[in-house]
Symmetry: C2
Subunit: 213 residues, 2 copies
Amino acid sequence: MAKADHISMSVIRRLPRYYRFLYDLKENGVVRISSRELSQRMGLTASQIRQDLNCFGGFGQQGYGYMVSQLYDEIGHILGMDRLSDTVLLGAGNMGRAIANHMDFESRGIRLTDIFDDSPQVIGQQIRGLTVRPISELETACQEHPPQVAILCIPKEAAPSIVERLLAVGVQGFWNFSHYDILYEHPGVIVENVHLGDSLMTLSYQLKTQRKM
Amino acid sequence: MAKADHISMSVIRRLPRYYRFLYDLKENGVVRISSRELSQRMGLTASQIRQDLNCFGGFGQQGYGYMVSQLYDEIGHILGMDRLSDTVLLGAGNMGRAIANHMDFESRGIRLTDIFDDSPQVIGQQIRGLTVRPISELETACQEHPPQVAILCIPKEAAPSIVERLLAVGVQGFWNFSHYDILYEHPGVIVENVHLGDSLMTLSYQLKTQRKM
DNA sequence: TAGATTGTTAATCGATTAACAATC
DNA sequence: TAGATTGTTAATCGATTAACAATC
């Protein structure tokens, strides 16, 4: 029943992974699991799992372990998966289209409501059942249907001004694939910078370093 | 001149971000920068920047700061950007195509040499100047031209067996977009798991938590 | 020289791991 | 009851920040 008032980012970033592993266990008909067995499957320590879960409450049973299905639901609830945030996608180039088509938004708390782009070749196209609209219509569209989240798949140069416009229409969260770092602290605005290029570069670094040993 | 024998992952993950900021400064004609000014632009402490850089060597000059262009080159060298790793892409669906078209591989130490897919509709298509080949040709293709890195944009179910086949042909690094967690420690094999879904879920969590305050 | 800013050591803070009493 | 495993506190480890002497 211990509930920390502030949960560290390290813990939060592990939650979706627990959620995935528990889903698989559930699918495979596993009813109960101990922190020790889960830790072995996930490559963590049992201690860390118990510590993490106890940030939110005592979901286990001493001497027995955790009910897979119940724990799965609890984590889903903690992550807010039982509620959808209306979301607009900015930029329908390669990356924007891939994200729109590839992501399972609804099971991750996101409802995609509109897609915007600048380029005449793309405007009017259908992506995942949505018609791509010109960015000039952003404000009117968002007045009808105010989004909580914006996904940015736009060029770096375009990002600062688009971010301003999105903040003006009340967007509270950004999932940012652009090469522009959103950092200024508009209080209460959440930013998740993805930076795939950075991820690839750390792989290159590790590869290079590995080879020397 | 201090050189740590082992660099922590926290430091490594910050390097590409330094690299990007330094590139921009260089582009804007900034010649010299102090750790203090850079820290303000990046939203870090000056102490952390000096600490990070000194893992690799003393690149600054006391009383003066750092030469932007020189520091940029040094970090590029540390990250191994002056050498390309031959790389194959597995899976040319939405995500695979987007990654292939969108990423600036060469400036991140990667040379894309082959693209493989299973689906007859996709095989034979041209993506970024490469013809998509059937996965059955993986072994023969890799014998001619052994890749160091594999990018996985394939379904979860397909991942385990493909990973085995790639390890067998000598792949040393995986950039993994599949929902399958590669964790087993084949010694010397580097894995960079991306998990975009996890990133989106942490955004949902933070949004939900934010709202309560 | 005086002023500025690094490189580096020391202090603090936070996250992970270990240990164990509580309890199913 | 005895055995197992949690919840939770304490110990350890690592990362960040602060401080300052070295030096350009």
